[in-house]
């Protein structure tokens, strides 16, 4: 792999203070290469969104803090950077799209004002030139009559259009990395498909890397090159997308795939993962998935299972995953 664009090392993010803090992200490490699309998939409380917020430096203050680890962007540790430099990166070389476009756009400013502000925050550019760039960006994300739309307020746009505006804003300063946190989750399926197509086209055009966070295995199958599966704040598995679907190693990944109803095959009964998602304030000792895992043995409760290599680029945190046999 080429020198990574983004390198997350042993990230640990904690909410709350003192000894009673909740560890939302625990010992997470992964790389993103230039132009690569990495999908992070997991359920509620898996730590996928907190990982993204940690990378962007957008943890809610003062509750959230990074307790350990490093986040290297183009070789420089973001956590050691002066706040001014970090602000310059955010919205510039690193763009972000959130799930809920209505809450991430300011309702009292026109979308033109907001895109222009973003551009001028990062580049020395006059208002007129920035407006021209904004019109160009709105056109590229598929908004009809972009010059006219510039003076619309967020409430005048549909959910799908607002998300296009968010993408235009995130891409306005040609980021090298785009973090997209559930960018299509709140949208209808036909609009979701349009936006995934758009992101794929824009990625080809702008050549940025994308970290896509989702709970939807279908979105992962459509979009990701490489996949990170998270469970209860820790990494369960990491592999190229084909291997995640064809040869998953971690029992959680296997269970997650089996729980998803298949649109092609007919299955009489869904296979399920028993039990409920763990409470982060009251985690089991040892492997966090062990209480729900059908393959768990006593040793699983003894300590955190380390990430083991199964193939080039394929790692899983399970002491029971078979090294050779297919699941």
């Amino acid at each position: 792999m080429a020198a990574p664009l983004l390198s997350v090392r042993n990230l640990r993010t904690v909410f709350g203070t003192g000894g009673g803090g909740i560890v939302a992200v625990d010992d997470v490490s992964f790389d993103v290469a230039p132009r690569e699309v990495v999908g992070i998939v997991g359920e509620s409380g898996s730590g996928k969104s907190v990982t993204a917020l940690s990378i962007m430096g957008l943890l809610p203050q003062p509750q959230g803090r990074i307790a350990a680890g490093a986040i290297l962007f183009e070789g420089r540790d973001l956590l050691q950077m002066p706040p001014r430099e970090r602000r310059a990166l955010r919205g510039g070389a690193m763009g972000m799209v959130f799930q809920e476009p209505m809450t991430s756009l300011n309702p009292v400013f026109t979308i033109g004002d907001q895109i222009v502000e973003t551009i001028r925050q990062h580049e020395r550019m006059g208002t007129r030139a920035a407006r021209a760039r904004a019109v160009d960006m709105l056109g590229r994300v598929g908004i009809a009559a972009p010059a006219r739309r510039l003076d619309d307020y967020p409430h005048q746009l549909s959910g799908g259009m607002r998300q296009r505006v968010m993408i235009a804003m995130a891409l306005a300063c040609s980021p090298r990395l785009l973090l997209a946190d559930e960018p299509t989750t709140a949208l209808d399926v036909t609009i979701q498909a349009q936006l995934l197509d758009l992101l794929r086209d824009l990625q080809a055009e702008f050549g940025m890397a994308i970290v896509l966070i989702t709970h939807n295995m279908g979105v992962i199958a459509e979009f990701a090159d490489r996949v990170l599966v998270m469970y209860a704040g820790r990494m369960a598995e990491e592999a190229p997308v084909g291997r995640i679907f064809d040869a998953p190693k971690h029992p959680y990944t296997i269970g997650l795939l089996a729980s998803t109803p298949d649109i092609v095959e007919d299955n009489v009964r869904l296979r399920t993962i028993p039990g409920t998602l763990p409470n982060l304030a009251d985690l089991p000792p040892g492997c966090r998935f062990a209480p729900r895992c059908t393959r768990a043995i006593e040793a699983c409760g003894a300590g955190q299972p380390p990430m083991r290599d199964f193939a080039a680029d394929h790692r899983a945190a399970c002491i029971r995953a078979d090294m050779d046999a297919a699941p």
Partner: protein, 346 residues
């Protein structure tokens, strides 16, 4: 699995319509228009059958569910429960029918009263029907909890002590408490995590087997609907555009909207990534739906006639109906499992 229409359907909906008035004027005191949320919908649900109802936001699918239960009053149409028209029943008479018709809501956080104990939550339908609280009803509550996979001790706890999936089990226990014949599941698994969603889907199927329930399963997730339904109806802007047994609908969708909807589903496997015909444009406003076929503004096959004349549902095969003027000229779509996109699958 195909529904035989021979026995009396549990639910028959005939010409159902709901128009919500829109207020305007300086004091919002004039009716300036109407949202035609549901327009001339006809459906039947057989005993023991699950009818899936799909469509995007604002298509009227939830309104149909609420109309059938008469949680909201229809503007027009008949709703027959086992052959009896309930659209005109007075509240007193309705109470007796309500016993047999229940609903499970989407959000297990807002649909359970946080200040009530689980025992009272799940027995409330029985209290409303006149049951007196006592040792007998408590045993009933414990039995209901066991049926939905929760411990008996849960009766004395409050909703906040449970996770989302467990709360949905409580909501289901409440729905089956009065031993209904028919349950509307309104996005009942949509808010749940995938691993929990599968548990609840299986529970709903087990309960259907055990008690012979009929379901109207309203959802936007086409894969879940395919899994659980016997037949599926597709709605667009207040109208049913296609209805068929599920295998027929997913294998050979005929209406251009159904085809587009199915083509929008993300591939289930990276090998199946493909270039697909996407729907362009967005949903028109239900305040001013396009004249003629409501789908004409987004339909790749639309012609002049589609912009003026409303298409009626036509029978294409046993149990398969679609509302499109040019149904015979619409080419079949690529199969869902087929034709990988060239060279991009990893």
């Amino acid at each position: 699995m195909t529904a035989a229409p021979a026995p009396t359907p549990i639910i028959t909906v005939d010409g159902l319509a709901k128009h919500f008035p829109v207020r305007g004027g300086t004091f919002l005191n004039r009716t300036t228009g109407a949202v035609r949320a549901v327009d001339d919908v006809n459906l039947t649900i057989a005993p023991g059958e699950t009818l899936g109802l799909v469509g995007e936001s604002g298509c009227g699918k939830s309104t149909v569910g609420r109309l059938i239960l008469r949680l909201i009053e229809p503007t027009a149409g008949r709703i027959l429960f086992e052959g009896t028209d309930i659209a005109g029943l007075a509240q007193r008479e309705l109470l007796a029918v309500r016993r047999s018709m229940q609903i499970v809501f989407q959000d297990p956080y807002s649909s359970l009263n946080p200040r009530m104990m689980v025992e009272d939550i799940i027995l409330e339908p029985l209290y409303i029907q006149g049951a007196r609280k006592g040792p007998e009803t408590r045993r009933q509550a414990q039995k209901l909890l066991e049926t939905v996979g929760l411990p008996r001790s849960a009766i004395a706890r409050y909703p906040h002590e449970f996770s989302g999936g467990q709360r949905q089990r409580i909501g289901i226990a409440r729905a089956i408490a009065p031993q209904p014949k028919f349950i509307v599941c309104d996005e009942a698994v949509s808010a749940l995590d995938v691993s929990i969603q599968a548990q609840i889907v299986n529970l709903l199927q087990d309960l259907q087997q055990e008690f012979g329930l009929s379901y109207l399963f309203i959802a936007h997730d086409l894969a879940v609907v395919k899994h659980i339904s016997d037949r599926v109806a597709v709605m667009y802007l207040g109208k049913v555009v296609e209805i068929a047994p599920k295998r027929t609908l997913y294998a050979t969708p005929r209406h251009p909207y159904t085809q587009a909807l199915l083509a929008s589903i993300p591939a289930p496997h990276p090998r199946l990534r493909r270039q697909r015909a996407r729907l362009t444009g967005e949903l028109p406003s239900a305040l001013a739906p396009p004249p003629g076929c409501r789908f004409n503004t987004r339909c790749p096959h639309a012609q002049d006639r589609c912009r003026s004349e409303v298409p009626e549902l036509r029978t294409l095969a046993e149990g398969h109906q679609a509302a499109c003027h040019f149904i015979d000229q619409i080419p079949a779509p690529a199969p869902l499992g087929g034709s990988p996109r060239n060279g991009t699958a990893p």
